[in-house]
Symmetry: D2
Subunit: 345 residues, 4 copies
């Protein structure tokens, strides 16, 4: 049946560079450095021209911050700290000093909770451009403006066009674009922030290709900040099949080891570890499916679910609470970094 | 004391042409025709160059629709009908035929209930521009797009500039601008819709002068649709003083007329009628204040309330419910008029 | 490995009677009749004492209405009609004539979109109890009151206790309880309304067992109305595995049939049909997993996903729009049925 | 005309004890002590049986906190501190020690911004009752539950009845009731918090008399916390007439004093001071109106505005922002005071 699967048909939905590289170690043209701050994991990926063609991601820096629970207040504060630190570093590397003016764009639909990250962040940005024009801004503030352009289904206007015309008239020195993304991994949903200088395709993650918002198009640096807030059913199923392989291999090796009987099952995090799985085990557990590689499995699931309309794109049921916390993290992080005088609040 | 009152200090807050003309009958350069549809009163005012300089309103057509209760469903439907009829007539007079594309701008702050009329209306506009560009629009639909530019305090950007740059890039044939207004009459608040081809000054009614959005500035026809949603304390007090005059005169004349004793007080609408008040009565009732004309009274009240921060701008406490109904009337009226195929829904 | 799977550990999450019976045909003590109105499918299930113990559902009537798209206006109206018809029939069967007073309870958390169905419905219920007490209600209206008790996490109070004390003081003749449910089938999410006279366990579907709201507890008839708005990852995966079996069997049989090559894949709805799958095919396709039955597969997936926190409960990303439409259907349907005079609006 | 004015017709709308006593100094049965914390003024009023009959306020303690701007962050924090201090003192005086359980009731309509104070406060209360029942509460937390019963127009149920039945079943040791109030003074709107142990009449301030929620009715202490968020037109007009008297007297005395010509008008706060006004001045300025006392003026204005529907109840146009800040102050203040362990957050 393998020959029937057309891999090109199912393009994997991901906006995260980290997901594009994770299965391919040592790709030429891609540098990846992982750092840790407490429980928070930061992955710095630099994609050059060569790497760009391999993983189909644009040339640029991609910083991914992975964390666990942001409903906990202390943890939230830590994530804000880490976000500010790396965001500040990116500004410095792009030479966007305090005197450079900034426009922030909140992409997405404010009426749709899982898509409202951009509008929610913009709501809490400290804007100063109008005060700069009146000449009444205190020290330690940058020239900042912010807009929510809305979504094409509600405005009738191509979002990137609207952004382009406002950029041309307001002439900011650089752009920050905030958007909700799609993930191809169940465990990154609402637990990852990516920032990148490679621009963004509004709605690309969720299958509506809009025109690009990037330095090439606009002529000024564009920093894209995104959080994966949705996954599709294909991802959930293929991730689970993967976990089942690991579970099976792990159980097989350890089942007769009496030590394991003393460990509560829930404390075993083997599913997050790299586990060598014998090809033989895979087919034993999952037959023909077990003989396919990840891309083939995804393509097959897509082929099964798509025609009957079941490749639903879903979001965790706690979406309302999580969006609030995530938008707070990003807006506070942006305010702190852009406005020096807000660094201590 | 009269000599101390500087009338220029207190510019009367009104966005309604009807309020600019109501005390001055037969002004040269202003034509005014009143029509009635059931309980609904429509005033058509045309201001030419001469009239414009007299009443400080821009040259153009001003249609004012006055109605009572829009929480009643039947009444609401009637107001939608009347609105559509006059809006359609204005489009025809401006030669804005079905093939002319339209952009709708919702001015105001979506987070502030009395200022959210524009954003609420835009939320329910049927947009089609993106479908026209794909070539997939059925018959009976006009090319329509719609945006909420936000307010300067939240974007940092001069709203009229933002509108100008989007108009230049999207090139609509005409503009509709929807905004909440200020009234200088207590009884018009939330009970009046004004439409005009004379453009608009965002926030002018509530004391924040922004740059104009008009044909002169943008080069295309601009139809402004507004509802007064707020009044200031000065208006409430001066209206009441006026009512007291009328009340006093009426009572004096009728108090000994035994017929009146049979009429319940609440059914007497003499306060809405024109009543000749003797100058003598005025000073008897209100002393020095009674000797002042309307403008002088307003200026005096302003002089008293303003320095102590009590010239509050207020809105009726039912504002949330009323904004819903009013935005529904305007969005339905616009949709029906712009899209021929929606005329029967 | 089969012996390791503890089926009792993973109790299947479903609030729908229809899902409890669908794999077991001809269960003693359960009568099931299917009707069709256009595209809308209505399943009437009656569970008696015997049936109750088999499927672990309480004794009572369960009417399930399945439909497709409620974003389409015509379709929405049809669903309202069907809902009213069957709801009215249930009232008559329970002898809840127009003179019987009704209290409506909206369960769920108004701040969490997928859980807000109950609060949204209550928001639009036409209440009359206070008018009855004043003696000023027109003909054709029933005595109706409605409350949103909130959720325990926000009130600190056991919801069923709060309902019980209000019922005891207000003494309605019967109760209607509206709640968001969990489904164990991907394709029922947001596309099914269940009504039943068997009462409800608030939050039971999503794993938080609260005390029951039922005739047994309250002493008056309780009609529960629910819509499944969430599924867990286990359901998504096990449904997909099932679909894969069907897909495989169907393809094997038809792959060499040249006729099929002319049919676009998307028009084939074989996955919704009952397809006989050979046991042999199952293991060929899915190895060991293929040899398990549905319950065992679910239990295994649960065992894999649960310890690592990946058995997420999810909702389709369009949840905001769908909740609006569904609550409109149910509130209109309830208003029409309870108040005779609203039948023609 | 004076003899025509029926004072009883126009009952002054105020929920604030401070407003009932302010014009009557040294009333027997009323003790009033004023304290200052920076710009914040705190008035402690104790009404005994004798005083109660004079000012038509129930026996009890009334603490009123008056402040200026709560949009300023520092100022907001100070008001929270002061609120907590006096709230804590009231708890101690009522002997409501940490082991006493508390139920918080948010009165008002969550869909109407100026009436949403109660629901907004309850939204942010830290509830613990359900955790106490599970035996899993850390040290420093009190047993607290909280509900929003809704308004009669939306539930059909008399609010006080609903509260009574929940109190009887949940058996808290005392009640806190939070509500939006009406003021009879323009300058107290949104700038005053009153707390009292005298209970509350839901909606009494805005003219809808509901049944009382008080210790007499419920058998447990009831602390009412309220903020005036609305005023009626009568208040605005009569306050302004008062200001005009003061303005006139002040100007007359000072107009020829050259020193005053150097003081900017806006810095003169004479309108807030007690100014002796000669009776003669009053009638000179305001004729017959000037000869009336405050109550008579109010009654007259009411007689004029009421029949034509112009005694509108209004709220400042910034109501959305102010409600957010005020509810934050009260919820934080309550949380800090009830839960000892939250005192340092």
């Amino acid at each position: 049946m393998s020959h029937e699967i057309d891999l090109s048909k199912y393009e994997i939905r991901t906006d995260l560079a980290i997901e594009s590289i994770e299965e391919n170690e040592n790709i030429e043209g891609i540098k990846s450095v992982v750092e840790k701050v407490g429980d928070i994991k930061i992955t710095n990926v630099v994609v050059d021209k060569k790497g760009s063609s391999v993983i189909n991601k644009k040339i640029g820096m991609y910083i991914t911050i992975e964390f666990d629970d942001v409903t906990d207040k202390d943890n939230k504060e830590k994530v804000i700290e880490v976000f500010s630190f790396y965001f500040n570093r990116m500004l410095r590397e792009l030479n966007l000093t305090d005197n450079k003016s900034c426009m922030i764009i909140g992409l997405g639909n404010s009426s749709s909770t899982p898509d409202a990250l951009g509008p929610l962040v913009v709501e809490d940005i400290v804007v100063t451009k109008h005060l700069f024009e009146l000449g009444c801004v205190g020290k330690g503030f940058r020239n900042v403006c912010a807009i929510n352009p809305g979504v094409m289904g509600k405005t009738g206007i191509e979002t990137s066009n609207m952004v382009k015309s406002i950029v041309e008239s307001e002439k900011p020195d650089f752009l920050i674009v905030v958007d909700a993304l799609a993930s191809k991994s169940l465990d990154r949903v609402n637990k990852t922030i990516q920032m990148s200088d490679a621009g963004i395709n509004p709605g690309s993650g969720i299958g509506n290709n809009r025109k690009e918002i990037s330095k090439e198009v606009l002529g000024i640096p564009v920093i894209a900040i995104g959080v994966p807030t949705v996954v599709d059913a294909v991802t959930i199923v293929s991730d689970t099949i993967n976990f089942m392989h690991k579970h099976y291999s792990y159980m097989k090796k350890n089942i007769n080891n009496p030590v394991n009987r003393l460990i509560p099952l829930s404390s075993i995090n083997y599913l997050k570890e790299k586990i060598e799985i014998e090809e033989n085990d895979k087919t034993k557990l999952l037959g023909y499916i077990g003989s396919l590689n990840d891309k083939e499995i995804r393509a097959l699931i897509y082929e099964v679910l798509s025609p009957i309309g079941y490749n639903m794109i879903v979001t965790p049921k706690e979406v309302d609470f999580v969006m609030k916390k995530l938008s707070e993290i990003i807006s506070k992080g942006i305010n702190k970094t852009l406005h020096e005088s807000m660094n201590n609040t």
